[in-house]
């Protein structure tokens, strides 16, 4: 088989959260329009390493395979991204797959991103409605404002921005760009704004906005191109005003 018709995958594996990581290499036949996920699926069908050793299939997390669910985030050739959009033909070989480093490992390429969802709880990332009963239309919202909110609400809690953030580590409790951006999203909604002060007070606490170091890697790696740094600056303004309000008006 000619060299260019084979794909080599180098995968960092780990059996358990506290066990030692190890590397395995797989050679796979090249297929048109293949991506990292389809290669991992091929491994499932033939879990044999380059050294002809039969191993357990690689465990990873994926669902929609269209880059809207956020599941398959991993580190591919050194950078964080979704595996489903990582087209094989666009990647230099060997293709190196590693799990995210800022979240606890579950197994192989699968990590536990509970921290992100807990942060959404912390900042009350929802709109508190009176009830689901039919009480008529929602608020009138200018299309421009809606378009801005839409950009923010495309966040799929994938964790790219946090993985790439030098300020977000396993040992601290920084909430990171995605959560700050969600605070902005809900604060800009006419109904959500009614709880904006509570959200701001939370984000002005431990692990909140002040921990941002303006490295701005978040916005570079965001697969949805969410204006995260703009959100951070906007929440910077809102928290500054809240601080002044707390100091001089209360």
């Amino acid at each position: 088989m000619p060299e260019d018709k084979t794909i080599r995958l180098k995968i960092k594996r780990q059996d358990q959260p506290d066990s030692k990581a190890y590397w395995e290499e797989f050679d796979l036949p090249h297929k048109p329009r293949a991506n990292v996920i389809s290669c991992l699926m091929d491994i499932q069908m033939n879990p044999v390493t380059r050294q002809e050793k039969t191993v357990t299939p690689v465990v990873w997390e994926s669902n929609c395979l269209e880059e809207v669910c956020g599941s398959c985030t991993m580190i591919i050739n050194g950078k964080v991204r979704q595996a489903c959009t990582a087209l094989i033909d666009a990647l230099p070989q060997p293709i190196v797959l590693e799990p995210l480093t800022k979240f606890p490992i579950v197994r192989d390429l699968q990590v536990d991103r509970t921290r992100m969802f807990e942060n959404l709880k912390k900042v009350k990332a929802w709109i508190h409605i009176d009830g689901t009963y039919n009480i008529g239309e929602g608020p009138v919202i200018p299309e421009k404002q809606r378009a801005k909110a839409y950009l923010l609400s495309e966040c799929m809690t994938c964790g790219c921005c946090l993985e790439a953030c030098p300020q977000f580590t396993k040992n601290n409790n920084f909430v990171g760009a995605s959560t700050i951006s969600q605070v902005r999203l809900f604060n800009m909604h006419p109904t959500g704004a009614m709880e904006s002060e509570e959200r701001l007070e939370t984000i002005m606490g431990d692990g909140g906005i002040a921990d941002c170091g303006n490295a701005q890697v978040c916005v570079e790696v965001c697969p949805k191109k969410i204006p995260l740094t703009e959100s951070i600056a906007e929440i910077g303004r809102e928290t500054t005003l809240q601080l002044l309000k707390n100091l001089f008006l209360k």
């Binding site: 059996d15 358990q16 329009r33 293949a34 991506n35 996920i37 389809s38 699926m41 499932q44 069908m45 033939n46 357990t56 299939p57 465990v59 994926s62 669902n63 929609c64 395979l65 269209e66 880059e67 809207v68 669910c69 956020g70 599941s71 489903c84 959009t85 666009a90 579950v106 197994r107 699968q110 991103r113 969802f117 959404l120 709880k121 009350k124 929802w126 709109i127 409605i129 009830g131 689901t132 039919n134 009480i135 239309e137 929602g138 608020p139 009138v140 919202i141 200018p142 299309e143 809606r146 378009a147 909110a149 839409y150 609400s153 495309e154 799929m156 809690t157 809900f186 909604h189 109904t191």
Partner: protein, 646 residues
Amino acid sequence: MPKRKPQFIVIGGGLAGLAATMKLCEDKARVTLVSYQPVKRSHSVCAQGGINAAIDTKGEGDSPETHFYDTVKGGDFLAHQPLVRDMCHQAPAIVHLMDRLGVAFNRTPEGHLEFRRFGGTLFSRTAFAGATTGQQLLYALDEQVRRYEHDGQVQKLEWHEYLSAILDSQGVCRGAVLHDLHTGEIFSAKGDAVILATGGPAQVYGKTTGSTVCNGVATTAAYLQGAKYANGEFIQVHPTAIPGQDKLRLMSESARGEGGRIWVPRKKNDDRDPLTIPESERYYFLEENHPRFGNLVPRDVASREIHDVVYNKELGVEGQPMVYLDLTHQSEEFLEHRLGGILDIYAKFTGDNPKKVPMKIFPAVHYSMGGIWTDYESNGSGLIDHQSPRNQMTSIQGLYAAGECDYQFHGANRLGANSLLSCIYTGLMMGPGLIQYSRNLNSHFEDVPSSVFDQARDQWQGRMQSFKQMKGPENPYVLHQELGDILLANVLIVRENSKLEKALTQISDLEIRFKNVQCLDTTHWSNPAPSMIQQLFCQIQLAKIITQGALVRNEFRGAHYKPEYDLNQPKDFDPHEYVEYIEKKQYGEVLESEFPSGHTAYMKRYEECNEQWLKTTIAKHNNNQPEISFEEVNTSLVQPRPRKYD
């Protein structure tokens, strides 16, 4: 004594599961929400185009009644009419509710909801949020459920798998056996009722537009426990998908809604750059064959037309089973604004810019109209009694279903942007009935002997352990792929009985090989291998339901197309003739001469066909085979008539 709080177990965290959870929590119930993964990642995020509600903001004269008619007509009259009618009447309230929850629906210049056109209707009825309406709706519900989780009313069991319902000695569902996908622990959970909101079965077909979790396993498990499975053979093939190795990504119908045109070169194997092919040498087959609906014919019609052009006329692009979906005549700003996200997907997965070159697309398995059988109670005036505990209950008492995994709303074919509606509608609608069900129970799960729960758990522990010990030569993933290939080759757009019989044989061969499967991983932590085998087992059963149903149903209805049973509608036929024909029939025999030539004969054929086949297919598990029977469809509100999309 404090009042007992109803407790429910919801399986699946997509739109239906989250809507049901939200509604139940609002009524002070406690909910255990079970999902393979964080619910925010559920398959609902994939829905792009929008959600239908006849709010008629553009003075087109749309109304819920028209929406109702379009839906039952789109479904070839196989859907129970009071349910569909109720859904369409609730639709405006649902869209307004979602708007209040913060969904970033596109707006008009005045700041009100914007609506666009979609397939199968002539009205602007589809509300949409950019290119990711499903994602936006799901997030809004996810946020509400997170609020209830924050308040302690919801317990989320993410990374858990539903294995089966727990039935007491009377056959009443009292809980569920669950599988912790990290620790591998198998345990039983108790509840007043279990709600399956587990989505579609796309994975049975292997490569589809479905997500990896759309495996149809939970409903099949219910079927194996004795629940009825309905209309399994009605599988929607979406006409426009992007080819891929791991999945077929959807190209939303909204691409056609915003003016996208489908065509192929008139010349076979024309290898010119599509942009250099002059208009006169392009075959816009949908527009030519359906001048009124054009590119917006329903999905079954579009898929069949593409199938015909590609396989019978051999006009596929580059000789492949592909056609062009062309948006290049629209301005880039317009496309960016209206379809930005959708077109990005195409660019991302193919490397081509659809604003500059026509997209290459082909049909892919997309949606199951069928699913687990569920009940409903009409209120006598053509709508649903929302307080009835019968609503959405499966044939197992206490086991409910909602969303794509039920069968009731789309008949033989679903219209675009109705799925998001039916998911949210069922989730919300069933809430009051569930509360009633819990209140009406004479004995609760607390009164059921613990041996019932322990036995169910032990049985599954044994079963999963036995899967783990399988050491045969067959790779389950390979078997799964082969299963999908069998169905794709034989049970797709065009169905022939010989092929269906062949498929059944192949499936039973596969079932034999299944016994020689190898469990590829026998470790104890976060090991997907035993689950995979269990899922494969269920999918083989489900494949039998689908194929057997397709084999038995000898007619052409909606997505189920059997050419040999095509009634050959005369080209100049007007569906209203049939209504007239039925009226006239009440006064005696209708003469051949009263309608244009050939029409009466056709209508007679149609009437006979409906007599025999306008019925719900019911599959019951019996002796390892689906036993097929038929049930009446409620067509009490609108006279079924031949479909025509000219």
